[in-house]
Symmetry: C2
């Protein structure tokens, strides 16, 4: 690793800045590796072949299938942990994850440095790892960051540049060899000594383990960690032991009440409820809610409310949906059990009803970023979903949207599956016109995460803006009485109430690169100038 990485933090001085197809200035290298600037929708054609794991042989693995080693530290040693490696974890335990913190405790005890942490997402519980970012155990994070780690990154404290990818983009990056995982550590609610694992049983049940699928397939070494070791076979084997090198039993892999919080409830805010109702009405008027349709509503309070409104309309019409795309929770499970939805194609379960349902109901289907989101594939099902309800922190007048930074410039959210879901047939963002007196509609989004061509409708408490590209939708809702307005009209209304917000101030330093679903760089995040600090 060149010495100048640490001196400059993030992008080396030698990186050239280029304007990508979205007009964003991005570097041609990130952490010393060449990257491709975003070339526009459906423009970048990947070359080459998939990443190939080494051929292994059963000679090197115990014939009785018992791959247990005494501790996680031992397993990491056996896996050859050393300076500069890339270590992956998954985020199915969400805010209750104990595994990632354990991994880097071990690395620190072993004196290993400069690790790249490659989680499928990080959460506030991982603020614990700040000390390891400080002391150089971890050089940087390539993965979506929620909260404190994003703030740390935004303040320019990370030694290298963070790279944020969507769930599908993460699969793509692993598959295409952009990221080579040296050691994958996969926490599981249930596992057997051979390494077969699932998330549906045990005190730390997380529902699925699909975010770790690519890790299991492509990592050089794979460690499964569980607090619930059962005799072979662990069924279902969401993670297949044939990919696993070592298994470890620990006291706890997660904090149950934080894994499935069960706290996500339908919004009670009158404004949000109104937005949700307007969203459902829009879909109805536009003819989207028809027999055999499909939808993804999401798990936030407003989205849940949209799902509820959908259910009402479906009951009235006597129709059902062919499938709903999860994240799942009790509301969606109710719809499945009521027969309003034929299948849930699930990526993660958000509560215990979701876990129970995916465990017991064959129509509640486990998916992975491979089946749902990978863009370097032969298609995926994200583009088959009729209507997708998503959030955003900001949108601009061209329907471009931001989902990772706030208007103060801080990187506080991950991309999740958001970019991947933009390929749905109709993409709707129900948004409050302002949050904490900061308008959501901007001249230019702080960070570009999704191109406006893919975002069809913005629904706010003061009106609905339809992307001019969707002449079909505009036609369909004409005369419906729905308050259709232009984005600039909505922007003006917000600014007349809140005034013009202050713009964040950045240094030149790039702290994070934002990848598009095809692995190209769609934007970067720069270091925030903190008041009185710089």
């Amino acid at each position: 690793m060149p010495a100048n990485y640490r001196q400059t933090g993030g992008i080396t001085m030698s990186a050239n800045m280029l304007k990508n197809a979205a007009g964003r200035s991005v570097p041609d290298t990130v952490n010393g590796k060449p990257v491709v600037p975003y070339m526009g929708l459906d423009k970048y054609r990947p070359q080459g072949i998939h990443q190939s794991p080494r051929i292994t042989t059963n000679i090197d693995y115990p014939a009785d299938g018992n791959k247990r080693v005494a501790s996680l530290k031992e397993a990491l040693k056996c896996a050859g942990l050393r300076d500069g490696m890339t270590i992956s974890t998954h985020h199915h335990f969400r805010e209750g994850d104990l595994v990632a913190n354990m991994v880097f405790d071990c690395a620190s005890e072993l004196g290993v440095k400069d690790l790249c942490w490659f989680p499928s997402a990080s959460f506030p519980c991982h603020a614990y790892l700040l000390k390891y970012l400080d002391d150089g155990t971890i050089s940087h994070i390539e993965g979506s960051m929620n909260g404190p780690l994003g703030r740390y990154c935004s303040e320019g404290k990370m030694r290298k540049t963070a790279v944020l990818r969507s769930h599908g983009g993460r699969y793509q990056a692993i598959q295409d060899g952009e990221v080579k995982i040296d050691i994958a550590v996969i926490g599981a609610g249930c596992a057997d000594p051979f390494g077969n694992a699932n998330g549906v049983y045990g005190p730390s049940a997380s529902g699925l383990l699909g975010f770790a699928l690519a890790d299991s397939r492509y990592a050089d070494k794979v460690i499964v960690v569980t607090d619930n070791l059962i005799p072979f076979p662990c069924i279902p084997w969401q993670i297949q032991g044939n990919y696993v090198d070592f298994t470890v039993q620990v006291d706890r892999v997660g904090i149950p009440e934080k894994i499935v919080s069960g706290t996500t409830e339908i919004t009670r805010s009158p404004d949000r409820l109104m937005i949700a109702e307007m969203t459902a009405r829009f879909c109805d008027v536009a003819g989207i809610i028809s027999d055999g349709f499909s939808f993804q509503a999401g798990a936030g309070g407003t989205s849940l409310s949209v799902g509820n409104c959908f259910a009402e309309i479906m009951r009235k019409k006597g129709i059902k949906a062919r499938f709903a795309r999860g994240g799942s929770n009790k509301y969606l499970v109710n719809m499945l059990e009521e027969g309003l939805v034929e299948y849930i194609l699930d990526g993660q379960t958000f509560d215990l009803d979701g876990v129970r349902s995916i465990r017991d109901n064959p129509r509640h289907v486990m998916t992975s970023p491979f089946t749902s989101y990978n863009f370097h594939s032969k298609g995926n099902f994200a583009s088959m979903v009729d209507v997708v309800i998503l959030g955003a922190t900001e949108v601009d007048l061209n329907f471009n949207a931001n989902v990772v930074t706030h208007s103060d410039g801080y990187l506080l959210h991950g991309l999740g599956g958001w970019q991947n879901c933009l390929f749905g047939k109709t993409v709707i963002l129900p948004l409050p016109l302002f949050r904490d007196r900061i308008p959501v509609i901007k001249d230019e989004v702080t960070t570009l995460c999704g191109p406006g061509q893919l975002i069809d409708v913005i629904i706010t408490e003061r009106g609905i803006a339809i992307n001019p590209l969707r002449t079909d939708l505009i036609k369909k809702v004409k005369g419906s009485g729905l308050p259709v307005k232009s984005l600039s009209q909505l922007k003006k209304e917000a600014e007349s109430i809140c005034g013009l917000p202050e713009k964040p101030v950045f240094t030149d330093k790039i702290v994070a690169a934002i990848k598009w679903v095809d692995g190209t760089v769609i934007d970067v995040v720069r270091q925030v100038v903190r008041e009185g600090k710089e």
Copy 2:
């Protein structure tokens, strides 16, 4: 392709013959490609990396997921079918398969020549393809052959050398890049337009599709053919549409009554019944039938009977098996439903009870050659099975066994999962001492398929031979009254009844190579000299 292939048929004259670790004379090249002679158990260490598919992009696939093309011929054209390609099919439809024959009808109509057919197995119904072997549409078969095609091969009529692999060896060969599949054609009892497919629904339900898993993952182009197209999503997706290029709807993919024949019944032969009972008694005395044990009994009449005897013993002892390895049928399903077996880990279903059970019972688990058999992996579960009951056409005095040729030299059977199952903890071959007055125990097997070190016990109607390597078993059954004898003693008894059988006469021409589970060549099959013909 060098011209001398067709002149010589099979191995080129330039191939050097080497003696492998089993003492068999094998060539150093097969069909012009270098091969590694068998090096002994656990001696060959693979080098290199897995075969890598090209990176594809969703840009090239329909966003609505509809990959249907009008006909199989059209799909083959779209997939770029041309001379010399390798085309794969699976054998889940067994004797009722219509897909492979259709594929080569299309190829013939398109005037394509010199195709390598790479089935997971072929059956007598594929004798239809002899005309395409004759006219050069198909140059040769790499895959297990049951019946007429094997006979054709044995008579030296195939233009190139056949290569036989076990189910696990086939997965290994694809994974390791030994075989590059250009086009995989996957027949399915149920599929959606995206290419998700399963074998549990529809008139041509075959239970599983696991034998096509490697094909779907590694082939350059993948075509799913079904007679039962349903709207997305086809659940379960045993084959994932994300690997699929084209889907085709046809009238029929299989003949139902020949797919699940339902005819396999417990043997009524008193000799076979006695062998079965002795096998079960041996396992009981040896302490193998204990709570939580695992077994694979197989689907032949004798094996079914062994399974029944196991059930009796388990009921008496009040114990259950942790898992049974399928092929499944009504007998094994009954054991699952009675609670004698906790899980069936199934590779193929042999009757409608098997299909029903794997569709409806989450404890009846779909496996694939990847999870069960692949030797170039990080272990597989074949080596975890406590006792495995297998067949053989011949054994020699060192417990080496043959499963592909008869004592007349004809290649009439495939390897199936037989080699892979030899890794079970105790491997028992219950065999009649002679068949059609031909003794089963030989000085030397006609074709070596499995090394004697892996075969523990031979059980015949006239006595039991235990491999001297298994001193533990010898000790356990001592004093049990079981008729333990040496193999040579059993051989003498057979020969005293039947006389010494005639030896088959072969030409020098190698017509088939037999691979070991690690891809090395354990033996070859030579052209049979037919009486009065050569």
